[in-house]
C-alpha cells in the first residue's frame, strides 16, 4: 500500500467546524465498476463488529482497494488513527419510483437523523460515505447538514426538521468519498431517476487517542495567537485557522451559533492536546477567573 496522504491542519479545522470532508472522484473507475457489480449482486462481505480495518476486507476486493487509496487511508488515519475498527458497514439502496408504484407505496426521502444513539463523547467515530457511481440531483444523493455534528440529539428525534437552511444534497462524480463525524445529521434523498442508487457506508472506531494524527507540519508556533475581534479595519482572512473554526452555518440560531463555536474550540483543543488554545477569545473570556488569582 502506498504511503497514506494525511490531512493538513486546515482540512482538520474544517472537519472540527463542519463535521465533514468531501473528496470528489477520488476512487478510480476500476474500483467503482467492480464495487457496483458486487453491489448489484449484493456481494458485500459480512464483517463482525469490531474487526480491525486492516483485516476486514480481503486484498484484491474493491472495498480493500477503496480503503487502501492513499488519500482515503490518509483521511481515515488523520481522523481515527491507525488500527481503527470497523464498527459496521452497510450498503444503502435508494430505489427508483417504479419500485414504489408497483407495490402501491408512498415514496419518500429518509428523515434527517443522527446515527447510532445519544453520544456525548469528545472522541468520535468516522463515517466513510462512498458513492461508487455518479449521483445526479434527481437521484437524491445523501442530504447532510454541515456543522450539526456537535449537537447532542437522539437519533430520529430530529425527523421533524424537514428542511434546514444550508442543507447539502450530494451530487457528485463516481468515486466520491465523504468522511463525516458520527454526529453529522443526514438522510437519504428521494430517488426520482429510473435507476437504483447505491451508497456504501463504513463506521470506524478509533483505538488510539485522537491527538495530532494529521500532518501538523503547517500548524506553526503561533496558531493560537489572538487576533483583533469584532471591531476590525478589514475582513479577517477566511483561510485563517480561527476563521475556519468560527465560521457560522446559515441554520445556526443567533445565540446557539456562539455555543457551537465554543464546542468547536473545545474539540480542537482535544485534537491538539492543548487546553490553552483559543480562537477569537471565546473560551479565554469565559475561563477568566481573577478571583482565583487573587487568593
Amino acid at each position: 500500500m502506498d504511503e497514506p496522504k494525511l490531512l493538513d491542519s486546515k482540512q482538520m479545522a474544517e472537519f472540527a467546524a463542519r463535521g465533514v470532508l468531501r473528496f470528489d472522484g477520488v476512487v478510480p473507475d476500476e474500483i467503482n465498476e467492480r464495487f457496483c457489480t458486487d453491489a448489484a449482486g449484493r456481494e458485500i462481505p459480512v464483517v463482525p463488529a469490531g474487526t480491525p480495518l486492516d483485516e476486514a476486507y480481503a486484498p484484491g476486493t474493491p472495498i480493500h482497494g477503496l480503503v487502501s487509496l492513499p488519500r482515503v487511508r490518509g483521511a481515515i488515519e488523520s481522523l481515527v488513527g491507525p488500527g481503527s475498527l470497523v464498527d459496521h458497514h452497510f450498503l444503502h439502496l435508494a430505489l427508483p419510483p417504479a419500485s414504489f408504484e408497483k407495490r402501491g407505496l408512498r415514496q419518500s426521502s429518509q428523515p434527517t437523523h443522527q446515527d447510532s444513539t445519544i453520544d456525548p463523547r469528545m472522541a468520535f467515530d468516522a463515517q466513510l460515505f462512498y458513492f461508487p457511481h455518479a449521483v445526479t440531483r434527481e437521484m437524491g444523493g445523501t442530504r447532510y447538514i454541515p456543522g450539526s455534528h456537535l449537537r447532542i440529539v437522539s437519533e430520529a428525534a430530529i425527523g421533524r426538521y424537514q428542511n434546514i437552511r444550508g442543507q447539502q444534497h450530494v451530487v457528485c462524480p463516481a468515486g466520491t468519498v465523504m468522511l463525516a463525524h458520527h454526529g453529522l445529521w443526514h438522510g437519504g434523498g428521494i430517488n426520482r431517476s429510473d435507476r437504483m442508487r447505491f451508497m456504501f457506508k463504513i463506521r470506524l472506531n478509533p483505538t488510539v487517542r485522537q491527538c495530532r494524527l494529521w500532518d501538523t507540519s503547517d500548524l506553526g508556533p503561533a496558531h493560537g495567537e489572538q487576533r483583533p475581534i469584532f471591531w476590525l479595519r478589514e475582513a479577517p482572512d477566511p483561510e485563517h485557522l480561527h476563521s475556519i473554526l468560527c465560521r457560522l452555518e446559515p441554520w445556526f440560531e443567533q445565540d446557539t451559533g456562539r455555543l457551537e463555536i465554543l464546542n468547536r474550540i473545545r474539540l480542537w483543543r482535544f485534537l491538539l492536546g492543548d487546553d490553552e488554545f483559543d480562537a477569537d477569545y471565546w473560551l479565554t473570556r469565559l475561563e477568566n477567573a481573577p478571583e482565583a488569582a487573587a487568593q
Partner: protein, 93 residues
C-alpha cells in the same frame, strides 16, 4: 357546513422573536393536496415567523424560554425556537 382539515407549518427561528429569520421548517397538509418530504425545499416558504402570520397562519404554540441547567449551559441539541402555525382549509373528501 364545509368540513375543514388542518394544515400545519412549523418554523424554527434564529431567536425567540417572531420577526427572526427562519433557519428550518416543516409542513404537513391534512387536506392531502400537498405532500412534503424531508429535503424537498432549500428555501423556506417565509423569511420570518411574522411573514407567515401576515399571510394568515394562526400561531398555535411557541417554544418556552427555559433557564439553562447547571453544567449544561454550553450543550447544543434540538433547534431552540420552534413556532407551530395552522390554517384550516375546506376539505371536499
Amino acid at each position: 357546513m364545509t368540513p375543514t382539515r388542518q394544515k400545519l407549518l412549523v418554523l424554527y427561528l434564529a431567536h425567540s422573536g417572531l420577526d427572526a429569520h427562519v433557519v428550518s421548517w416543516a409542513q404537513w397538509d391534512g387536506t392531502g393536496k400537498e405532500d412534503h418530504i424531508p429535503g424537498d425545499q432549500d428555501e423556506p416558504p417565509y423569511a420570518s415567523g411574522l411573514e407567515a402570520l401576515r399571510d394568515g397562519w394562526r400561531l398555535l404554540q411557541m417554544s418556552p424560554l427555559r433557564p439553562h441547567a447547571p453544567g449544561e449551559e454550553f450543550r447544543t441539541s434540538y433547534l431552540k425556537y420552534e413556532f407551530v402555525f395552522e390554517k384550516l382549509e375546506p376539505f371536499h373528501g
